[in-house]
Structure formats: structure tokens, C-alpha cells
């Protein structure tokens, strides 16, 4: 999780002065940041803070009012093969009559091969993706027979089958069981180890610090971005979540966690001494 290496890499994702609105109500205002590759980044903020809108703008799924996005230094349409999108699980009909495998195969669909059969190498990538998320044995199941966590793993496998360099995921941890959470985290760190980049929309402050290397803290405006140690301060969190009493009451707890991250808490308690942040 060293940050030195990342400084020398070209930014994978740049967002410049982006503003966007729904029905004339501003949802994003003048968002400007750049993200280096080879890390897991979280887009974090309270409900309605524009997290999903930011992701949809990056993927070109809605029009911005102003500003622009660059991916790998270029336009999305030139680097589509390198970018994979995982929509919110609730955004599709899980009673749709397709099997797990058919959904993951969609990760190999391209504009140019839609009227043709998938090649053997595409099928291999589908198998590998199913294997990585532990869903190979469920490949022939209809998707309505899956649990929420399994559905999420199918979406993840579909993205992995794309074999991209940048993965944009919308709330992959919502409503999943512990096994799926572990599976997702395992896949994420494997991707990071291959030098790939993952950007995740996430609403849960409690786990954000544990999951991500860096964070983009959002509340319509950009509150803070950078390495998580710098973003997770009392001041920035208060700015993003300020006025939300239920969250504020949890704030001290979250900050305590950020000073002593979850993974190292056990160690600290056992020995009575800890060296703080990672």
C-alpha cells in the first residue's frame, strides 16, 4: 500500500470542473480531482451527495452541465476496452430469464461481436471470472435463484470478464453476506496487485477506511480527496456529513477507527501498544 510508486504514474482518471444536475437541481458542483492508478479508491459521502451521479458521468451515462472527464489521458470512447462498469445491483431485474453464465458472458460483448458467436478465448475468460468470484458451480443457475451476495458476485465476474484496467463499481458492498464481502475484497486486492485501478462508490463510513487506499469525499462539492489518512479527519468528515445528527454521533467512533484501523485493532489491544495509522 505504498504511496511512493503511485506518484510517478500518469493519472488514470481525471475529473475537471464537473457540474451535473437532475431536473435543474444541482447534484455535483465543480468537482475536480485526479486519481493515480494501481489503487483502490472510494467515492464516499452521505446519501444524495452525488456519488452515483459522479460515476455515471465518468461512464458517459449522463450529460454534464459543464466540465469534462479524462480516462487514461483520453476520451472514454477511445479507451472503452480498458474501462469496466459495475452498476448498482438493484438497477436490473433479477427475474430476467438468463443464467449466471449468460450474464457473465455479457462482459465479452462488444459492439463489433454482437451479431457473432463468442470465441473460445472469450469463454475461457468467462470461466476464469466465474472461478475468481467462486461462482463457477452456479454457472447454469437462473439468476433469480441467487442470494443478494451471489448476485453481486455475478456482476463482479461480468466486470472481470472484461479484462479492463480501470473498474468503476457502484455500491458493491450493499446487502452482501460476509462470504461475498471477503470474495470481493480478495478480488479487489488481486486487481491492485496487477497494477489495476478500482473506484468504488460506497456509503458506509465505518468500513470505508478499511477497504480503500484513497478516498474522494463528496457532498455535492468535493470535500477532500487523496490518501485515506489525509481525507479521514474530523474536519473533513464534519464538512461532508455536518448537520446529520445520527452520523455526527458516530463520528468520534469513526475517527477513532481511522486512527487505529480495524485490521490492526486486535494487535493493539493484545500488546497494549500500537503505532497508529498504516
Amino acid at each position: 500500500m505504498s504511496t511512493e510508486g503511485q506518484l510517478h504514474r500518469a493519472p488514470v482518471l481525471e475529473v475537471h470542473n464537473l457540474s451535473a444536475s437532475y431536473n435543474r437541481k444541482p447534484v455535483l458542483w465543480d468537482i475536480d480531482f485526479r486519481l493515480e492508478g494501481g489503487q483502490i479508491a472510494g467515492i464516499v459521502g452521505p446519501n444524495g451527495s452525488g456519488k452515483t451521479t459522479l460515476l455515471r458521468n465518468i461512464m458517459g451515462l449522463m450529460e454534464a452541465d459543464s466540465g469534462y472527464v479524462k480516462l487514461f489521458g483520453g476520451d472514454l470512447k477511445d479507451v472503452r476496452e480498458k474501462v469496466s462498469y459495475v452498476p448498482q445491483r438493484e438497477s436490473v431485474d433479477w427475474d430476467f430469464p438468463v443464467s449466471v453464465r449468460e450474464v457473465v458472458e455479457m462482459g465479452r460483448f462488444r459492439s463489433r461481436n454482437l451479431m457473432r458467436r463468442l470465441k473460445a478465448q472469450d469463454q475461457d475468460l468467462v470461466d476464469q471470472a466465474l472461478e475468481k468470484v467462486g461462482m463457477l458451480e452456479y454457472a447454469q443457475r437462473q439468476i433469480s435463484q441467487l442470494s443478494g451476495g451471489q448476485q453481486q458476485r455475478v456482476f463482479l465476474a461480468r466486470a472481470l470478464a472484461q479484462n479492463a484496467d480501470l473498474y468503476l463499481m457502484d455500491e458493491p458492498f450493499v446487502g452482501v453476506d460476509a462470504a461475498t464481502e471477503d470474495a470481493i475484497l480478495g478480488v479487489l486486492s488481486a486487481l491492485r496487485n496487477q497494477g489495476k485501478t478500482v473506484v468504488i462508490v460506497h456509503h458506509d463510513l465505518q468500513t470505508a477506511y478499511q477497504y480503500f487506499d484513497s478516498m474522494i469525499l463528496l457532498n455535492t462539492r468535493l470535500v477532500a480527496y487523496g490518501p485515506k489518512e489525509k481525507v479521514f479527519t474530523k474536519e473533513t468528515l464534519q464538512e461532508a456529513y455536518g448537520g446529520r445528527l445520527t452520523v455526527l454521533s458516530k463520528l468520534s467512533e469513526v475517527i477513532a477507527q481511522s486512527e487505529f484501523p480495524v485490521r490492526e485493532r486486535g494487535f493493539k489491544e493484545n500488546t497494549g501498544s500500537g503505532d497508529g495509522g498504516a
Binding site: V83, P87, V103, M106, F109, Q162
Partner: protein, 289 residues
């Protein structure tokens, strides 16, 4: 089976098959009422085609109808995407507006001529055997049956060629866009097919029948299927079954054939729902209490 009965059932089954193939994707995309919308929206196209050509010859009127069916599709898209209205509201506005324009044009310009959609387009399946066309050395056959056959071949080819694209688009349109698939182009090719089938079919079999055939067999098959290809096959079979059974139901009651076919398709749907519910109750008695 008399020759008349055979042609009526065959024509009904071919139209039902075309409608079931496309209707399955309408049901999956939650746009089932689009057939109804298009069947109203074609009126201004018919009137304008009549005003330009000056006669009621059916080919030019069909072209006008198909063009205004497509216009309705564009209008629905425009209201939904650009004005950000809900899809159902966009459909409701587009087809009533186009229908009203058609009514206005009829009342203003065609007062002396007997032109309304009943006489021009709303066909009656019972008259199918009467409209014979010569096929040279092959003898002769009813024109509507031949058109329905062509329509079925066209729909089947379209669904086979576009299967992956239609599956992707119906399941997850945003994801399709993220892959760089030109979803608008796919959408309009699909809508053009739905317009064509709707317009041609209700010249052959009548309006109620085509609107019902687009939705009912496909929705019944959706309830019974776990996979897309079996769903499409089942929808076609259910459509053909409704055509066959509906004809004899109508003969038995000495009633409308189109009415018989739609009633039977509805009855098959109802039986499906009841059987599925019964099975569920048997598997898990507490769930329904």
C-alpha cells in the same frame, strides 16, 4: 378442417408467432403497452398518405402508417430522454397526441371521403380466405396468409441475428452503453420491427388481436421460463395455440374469431398463474397464508 378454417388458423398463428417473438422483448423491457400506443399513433400517417396519394390504395397507406409509427417511437424517446419524463407518461402523451392530430386531419380535410382507420386498417381475420391472390403456376392463396408468413420469417430472422444485442439491451441498458454498444440504434431497429409487425398485422387480423398477441403469450411464457430461448419458443407455441383454440371457441359460440383468440390467450395466462400459485403453495404451505 375446412380450407377456410385452415387459412384463418394458420394466419392467426403466423401473426401470433411474429408478435410473440418481439413481444417477449417488449415484456422483458417493461414496454408492453407500446403495441397499443403504435396502433393509435399510425392514424396521422394514414391520413397524410391518403391526402398525398389521393386514393385508398393500401400500400401507400401502409407506408404512411409505418412512418408515423416510427415517429411515435422517436417522440417517446425524445420525451423520455431529453425532457426526462417517465417512460409511461412519454408513451401516453405521444400516442394520444398523434391520434388527435389524425382525427383533426380527418375532420378538416377528408370530410367527403369515407376514411377512418376502421375501414382502412382494422382488418378482420374472418375475411382472410376471401382475399385470394394468384401465385402463377403454384395456384392461388390468401394474400393475408402470405403477408403473415413473410412477417414471421422476417421477425424470426431479426430475433436470431439480433439475439445477443436484444438480450444485453433488455437486461441492462446502462451496461450495454458502458461497453460502447450503440443502444439508440438497437432500440430504433427493434421499434421499427414492432411498428412494422403491428401495422401489417392489424391490417390482417385487427387491432385488439395484435395488441393482445404482443403481450399475452409473451407474458405467460415469461412466467414459465428460466431461460430466454425457451421463453421465445413457448411464447410462439402459446400464440399458435391461442389461434387454434380461439378459432374453434369462436365457431362453437358463433362469435368473433379475434375475440375467441384473445379470450383463449387470456385463459391460458390465468391457468398458468393459478397452476404456479398452486405449486408454490404445495412446496411451501406457509408462504401464502
Amino acid at each position: 378442417m375446412s380450407m377456410e378454417a385452415f387459412y384463418i388458423i394458420l394466419t392467426g398463428a403466423l401473426v401470433a408467432g411474429s408478435a410473440a417473438l418481439l413481444g417477449s422483448f417488449l415484456v422483458l423491457r417493461k414496454m408492453a403497452m407500446l403495441g397499443d400506443a403504435i396502433s393509435h399513433a399510425v392514424l396521422p400517417g394514414i391520413v397524410i398518405a391518403f391526402l398525398i396519394s389521393g386514393h385508398r390504395e393500401s400500400l401507400s397507406l401502409l407506408i404512411g402508417a409505418a412512418a408515423s409509427g416510427l415517429l411515435a417511437t422517436f417522440l417517446i424517446e425524445l420525451l423520455h430522454r431529453k425532457a426526462r419524463l417517465q417512460e409511461d407518461a412519454s408513451i401516453g402523451i405521444s400516442f394520444t397526441w398523434l391520434f388527435a392530430i389524425g382525427v383533426l386531419l380527418i375532420s378538416a380535410y377528408t370530410g367527403q371521403v369515407d376514411l377512418d382507420q376502421e375501414c382502412v386498417l382494422y382488418g378482420e381475420i374472418a375475411y382472410v380466405p376471401l382475399d385470394q391472390i394468384s401465385l402463377g403456376s403454384l395456384g392461388s392463396g390468401p394474400r393475408p396468409t402470405l403477408i403473415a408468413g413473410g412477417l414471421f420469417v422476417l421477425s424470426l430472422s431479426y430475433v436470431i441475428i439480433s439475439f445477443k444485442g436484444l438480450k444485453l439491451l433488455s437486461f441492462n441498458e446502462d451496461y450495454a452503453k458502458s461497453l460502447g454498444v450503440r443502444t439508440q440504434l438497437w432500440h430504433f431497429s427493434f421499434m421499427a420491427m414492432v411498428s412494422l409487425v403491428t401495422v401489417l398485422a392489424f391490417e390482417i387480423v385487427g387491432a385488439i388481436l395484435i395488441v393482445a398477441l404482443l403481450v399475452v403469450p409473451a407474458a405467460t411464457a415469461y412466467l414459465l421460463s428460466r431461460s430466454l430461448i425457451p421463453m421465445l419458443v413457448l411464447a410462439v407455441v402459446l400464440g399458435a395455440l391461442a389461434s387454434f383454440g380461439g378459432y374453434y371457441l369462436a365457431v362453437a359460440l358463433n362469435g368473433s374469431i379475434a375475440g375467441g383468440m384473445v379470450s383463449l390467450a387470456g385463459a391460458l395466462m390465468l391457468i398458468t398463474v393459478l397452476v404456479l400459485r398452486f405449486q408454490k403453495a404445495k412446496a411451501n404451505p406457509k408462504a401464502l397464508k
